[in-house]
Symmetry: C2
Subunit: 205 residues, 2 copies
Amino acid sequence: MPAPLIEPVARLIESFARLPGIGPKTAQRLTYHLLRAPDGEARTLAAALVAVRDQVVFCERCYNISDAPLCPICRDPNRDQLRICVVEEPLDVLALERTGEFKGLYHVLHGAISPIDGVGPDRLKIRELLGRADEASRSGSPFDEVILATNPTLEGEATAMYLAERLEAVVGIVSRIARGLPVGGDLEYADEVTLIRALQGRRAV
Amino acid sequence: MPAPLIEPVARLIESFARLPGIGPKTAQRLTYHLLRAPDGEARTLAAALVAVRDQVVFCERCYNISDAPLCPICRDPNRDQLRICVVEEPLDVLALERTGEFKGLYHVLHGAISPIDGVGPDRLKIRELLGRADEASRSGSPFDEVILATNPTLEGEATAMYLAERLEAVVGIVSRIARGLPVGGDLEYADEVTLIRALQGRRAV
């Protein structure tokens, strides 16, 4: 019979433990850390949490996170308006932006098709993507390219195939990001599917 | 040149990343999770954070966390008032309480002596512990036992030795928790110091 845990402490441990990847032990550690940290630390975190929910919205064009109806990327007139990169999550946008390699716009699906998890196309921002492509096509300047950058997983591949079929007719090129050996990886330790993809995707040097 | 990160999002990632054991990647994941989770999740966590700082105090006798001047353990008249277990952190109290093995009171030092980190005895609740022992001794009913349950680390051992010297004169027995092979552990993989302690601490069966 453990001593009764002080209620506000139990509640904070519980709230932390509900976050993905945070187990009960880590939740305890975080809670006790904040109990002893300077008062500002817990309050700053609390304020940041509330601000994120109050101030952050999704871009009404690409569904990336935004602080205004249109996100900074969609607002930027210097970006290639006819090249769209389709990703599963806002974090994927961040990862791609860090490369500085892509100068077009994005479309964030907020997930991938996964019948096992009950996620059908209607649960994602797919209708909105097809709408963007359609509208561009009908206005006389169809998208030059839609790059399908969903994850190289079962769900990501299925989503890419689903989208490719439906986009073909209304955009110039539908492409899929390359799958192969990660840079710095070791051929010896690569799984077979990755190796097969690496061979299939080979190019003349 | 990555796209500008929305300010409230950047601020929340930063706040999470300041927590111990949470790297920038995890901080990102948590932030994006909360962006898409039901509104209540972020607000519940924010409220729990504020509540912990507003409602939780340290017990004025044992310095464990508490919701009142005296913590639930110090308030409990059924606990052995003359047996004190000295630990480094409130989390250690929780761990010991889970065993149900100890029926006395606690004293939480809030750290261990560590000259390298600039933590001297005066930065810990050591004066308060010596005061409790002195007062009990002078009142005619000295503590039967003070169990030194600081961690089996360099700092924990140094703290235990420091306390033992100063408590000897005013309490019945000063004891130290046993160090040895962890239950379920494997002798083959134990480090030498643990093995030496296990041998030194052997008992007749």
